[in-house]
Amino acid sequence: MKSGTLKNITSKRLFLPLFCLALVLLVNVITTPDFFAISVRDGVLYGYMIDIINRASELVILAIGMTLVVSASAGTDISVGAIMAVSAAVCCSVLTGGERAATELVAPLFAGFGAAILVGIIIGCFNGFLVARLNIQPMVATLIMFTAGRGIAQLITDGQITYVRVDSYKLLGSSFPGFPVPTPFIVAVFMVAITALILKRTALGMYIQSVGINRRASRLIGIKSVFIIFLTYAYCGLCSGMAGLIASSRIYSADANNIGLNMELDAILAVAIGGNSLGGGKFSLAGSVIGAYTIQALTTTLYAMHVSSDQVPVYKAVVVVIIVALQSPGFARWKKSLAKKKGSMQLEGKEAA
């Protein structure tokens, strides 16, 4: 009976991603005893755990868009990091009125935010057009923006870092005075909730999976496959724009070279660690979100263990290999055959007795 319930839990789809996250966090119990301690300083929550949920926000938001893109088109959008840079550049340039630094806002905050999100959506639509309408392979289609995006951001900012030294602009990347929870986390939760709601309350989730599994069959039953794929790229662009805003607000500037650098890889990884197949089709949004937090937890853990930032990628790679291997079909087969062997050994033991 007891082993039955255990089996029930382990066979759940989200078990492995959650297990991996727990494992990463568990390491800290031994290495960094104060890892889970949370204190309040200057009215703001403080601690490693808070750092994880704060820092992971951009990645979580990117992972949402990436999950949908992967599901519908069986491909990845590798331009998300570059889109972040463009949206940051647009936002800061609007807010400074084209100057390289400003201590006062030239345009209202929402105009900057709106422009940034809009430019994210536009680039997403461009990607979507290439992939859905022209049938270009996703990797190749988004490679265009991957390379061109940072160039565009440089053009907008004249190749310099644009600073917005205004307190109200910093709120998005820090926290509201008197409110202890970091704003990026709230935005991430909001984005996840909105997306989950859309997927649950409309048939869009089912359409996306259906198109990802069998595009031709989906078209014949009246689903506009081309439009659905287009939509996921546009939404991914929106998510990237939002992530770019947060990243920019954290450093109250637009750094075309560094904002969102290599984030596309982490976003893809988050989807994979979440137990989603990169071959498209069925997906779990929750899985991807857990995947994103796992990656950030890993990074923060390594910093807490005083690994230098140059070496972090090495350790990260090792852990990622283990996590992905744990979830691979090959490992599942091996585990199954092991369980079988054990079962038959028990049986033999009983017979002998």
């Binding site: 409309t202 089912m206 999976q209 599994i213 069959a217 014949l220 009246g222």
Partner: protein, 504 residues
Amino acid sequence: MEQGSVLEMRHIYKTFPGVKALQNVDFTLKKGEIHALMGENGAGKSTLIKVLTGVEEFETGEIHVDGTEGAVINRSPQEAQNRGISTVYQEINLCPNLTVAENLFIGREPRKAGLIDWKEMNRRASELLKGLDIHADVTKTIDNYSIAIQQMIAIARAVDMSAKVLILDEPTSSLDDGEVEKLFSLMRRLKKEGVGIIFVTHFLEQVYEVCDRITVLRNGQLVGQFTTAELPRVQLVAKMMGKDFDDLAAIKTEEGQIGKEAEDIVIKAVGLGKKGYVKPFDLVIRKGEVVGFTGLLGSGRSETVRLLYGAERSDEGELFVKGQKHSARNPLSSMNCGMAYLPEDRKNEGIIADLSVRENLILALQAKRGVFRLLSRKQQEEFTDKYIEMLQIKTASRETPIKSLSGGNQQKVIIGRWLLTNPDFLILDEPTRGIDVGTKTEIQKLVVELASQGMAVVFISSEIEEMLRTCDRMVVMRDSAKVGELSGEEMNQASIMSTIAGGQ
């Protein structure tokens, strides 16, 4: 092992999640016999073959193979091959860009000083083919030859790798009569040489032509092993279906229910066509009518109905649906006019493999309602239960992925998907292909019943007999053009054949 046996399987059990695929199945194969493995879809034929060849593991039971002491367990097709069990599948596993000789000896090329001895390889290849009376130039690439020859070459390779047991899984489904005959003579030759052949097929005539014994499975259980000569056809069918075989001739519609009035015209095509696809044609389909489309493969049957449904966009002519001109031609707009289309290619255009039975069933209706009007979970489940019950779909649960259902049950789910949209005009392109006899009859009956309720139905099948039983009228196609319409007395095999052939 019994004397003369080359293979014995005893008390084989195998379960898939929710399905008992094989329960206590025995199977014996003698030296030099052709043994038919029969059963409806989902009876367990494929599973038995997979268990035998190591593609799937079985839970309990024993397999004995001549030449190996004790019970054997094949863990991979490679291992099975080493024990002398070779399989030739329906889809041929040859490399089309390699030569015949290379295909025959791939992975075991004769070598001289570490290099491939091409001369020796070609010599042995032509010897092998000559010995089996297969005529092919071994130095030409495989894609020069017809499917039939390719199949025989695949068999030759299997036999040359010292096959004691040769499994032929539906080898004849894509061959014409002459090619089937050639394949049979090869099988008979191998039989004389002492090879035991397991022959999996849907075609009854072929079983009676070439097989010595028949093993029948039903629902994962052994029904029995019979000598072909002692088992009349009707009884074989009855054993496969487990019930008395319906008289198929009796299902046709009564005359007189077809709408005669002008407003009963559901579909009217005037000069509809598409360049390089289907030549312009006129067509009228009325309420309560079953119209068949016939013609040879590639004659434009499927293309015509795709044009009607809007799966392909026409570039000339007009289409009227219930008197209204239908100009926006895409699947969704056609669905909104009350059309439904079951495509020929179930796997690539029909099922959404990873989604559940429930999702596959409700998707078309959902798409018709639009993305914002999501069917509630409760409604979805009610619909699913209703159609599982109504069409007798065999599935472990509503949430089972459709890909784990057998072909016939997948087809039923997709038919249910369209019935759920409550269409006035239903197009069924080869709904019975690759489906067992029992389900075939069920589908034919369903078609006739739907028509009697006033639905207009297009029914396409490559089996003319099946169409004669179900259709009120037949449209004959040749070379992408509509060449005739037959109804009433003219609708018989002879006149259809002559119209298809086109000679006077």
